[in-house]
């Protein structure tokens, strides 16, 4: 039988989602969206997906929520949806939901999928944690392209908001209490990120979780003016940004020179190469996620 907590979560999620999209005030919606994300992280945990829960809490909710918040300031006053429109949305949604739910209910009930195949081969992949094995090895091609999506999006964001950061986050001087707390928490976040990368090969954790946490710390530093805005003009930023993608490129390309496959890890080197790659990816992901935020002060502008 289905446990009450699962039933509660499964019903609460669509209801909150509905509130997120139907509330009059946009800031309320964003706050509700963050609450929604945290609840869905609980759902992932209930479904034995701690990796997904971590990433959802850190990236899907934490960073996306903060991004939405930071973009609220530039909004004009929203118009609440007209009643007929809200009703139309509800009707269409209900129809789609019923149709799709009946299709999902027809799916085979038993275990079906690549799970056993992954477990059988995870020894050869060099990492014991199955999700990391899939991400970094069996389906490494996906992850490689996904990293490029992230990098390309950051180039897009930079090109869109070139030099116009006056609409950025509020960076007025902050109180000494905040400073003290930030000084306490940022080193702790760095340690936590390192720990997540390191243990990603055996337990839930990995580059994306760690990168999101580092980015959280970086955003705190930006908010409290402890860190200058990230700009591609800075050598350090460029190095952090490209470390992951460049290393990934090399890991993909070099085996081809030795008659191997793209992204083939040399026998016995899987574990250590993946750890190195994940460390570099963590830095790049953290940099990219931080760059998604409107940077505080205007970047030094150089023409030509």
């Amino acid at each position: 039988m289905i446990p009450p907590i699962d039933l509660l979560l499964a019903t609460a999620l669509p209801l909150i989602a509905w509130r997120v999209l139907a509330t009059d005030e946009l800031p309320t919606s964003v706050v509700l969206f963050i609450a929604f994300g945290l609840l869905s992280a609980l759902a992932w945990a209930r479904l034995d997906a701690p990796d997904v829960a971590l990433v959802e809490a850190a990236v899907g909710t934490g960073l996306t929520g903060a991004l939405l918040m930071s973009s609220l300031r530039s909004m004009e006053r929203p118009r609440p949806p007209s009643p007929w429109r809200a009703r139309a949305i509800a009707l269409v949604a209900a129809a789609i939901a019923v149709a799709l739910a009946s299709v999902v209910a027809l799916l085979p009930r038993g275990a079906l999928g690549l799970g056993p195949a992954v477990l059988a081969r995870s020894e050869e992949s060099g990492v014991a944690q199955p999700v990391t094995a899939v991400l970094m090895n069996f389906r490494g091609h996906d992850t490689h392209l996904e990293m490029l999506v992230l990098l390309a999006a950051s180039i897009g964001v930079l090109s869109i908001q070139h030099g116009t950061a006056s609409h950025g986050v509020d960076t007025a001087p902050t109180s000494s209490v905040v400073m003290m707390l930030v000084e306490l928490i940022v080193p702790a976040l760095v340690v936590l990120a390192g720990y997540l990368v390191w243990r990603g090969s055996r337990a839930p954790g990995g580059a994306f979780q760690a990168g999101a946490i580092l980015a959280g710390g970086a955003v705190l530093l930006l908010l409290t003016r402890r860190m200058a805005p990230l700009s591609l003009e800075r050598q350090m930023v460029r190095m952090f940004l490209f470390a992951g993608p460049v290393l990934f490129f090399l890991v993909a390309a070099v085996p081809l020179g030795f008659g191997g496959d793209m992204l083939e890890y040399p026998r016995g080197w899987g574990g250590s190469l993946i750890l190195g790659l994940e460390s570099a990816l963590t830095l790049s992901i953290a940099t990219i996620l931080t760059m998604f935020f409107p940077q505080g002060a205007p970047a030094p502008r150089r023409r030509g």
Binding site: L47, A88, I89, I96
Partner: protein, 101 residues
């Protein structure tokens, strides 16, 4: 009803709510929120499907797909929000001066 099916049904409902709001809602910010809600729905379906075996570890492949999906969706959201911010900001500025001719 097994728990995974409850979550899968919840997932498709999220998808449906998000998708219809994404298409029918007039406001850009709400559309972006709707896309994120809808994405959570798809991810919930995938993770629920991974949990179909009553015992033993869940299928890691959908988990990996969802992790990839979350990163793609945060990239799209960031791009959309940057566009929104710049549009609002650009309302006060002239057109870009650095395009050739």
């Amino acid at each position: 009803m097994p728990p995974w099916l409850a979550y899968a049904a919840s997932g498709v409902s999220l998808f449906a709510v998000g998708m219809s709001a994404l298409v029918l809602h007039g406001e850009v910010m709400r559309k972006i929120l709707a896309a994120n809600v809808s994405a959570s729905g798809v991810f919930l379906v995938l993770v629920a499907l991974a949990r179909r075996a009553p015992k033993g570890p869940p299928d890691p492949v959908p988990h990996a797909l969802v992790l990839t999906g979350i990163v793609v969706s945060v990239s799209a959201t960031a791009l959309a929000l940057a566009l929104v911010r710049q549009l609002r900001h650009g309302a006060q500025l002239g057109p870009s001066d650095e395009r050739r001719r």
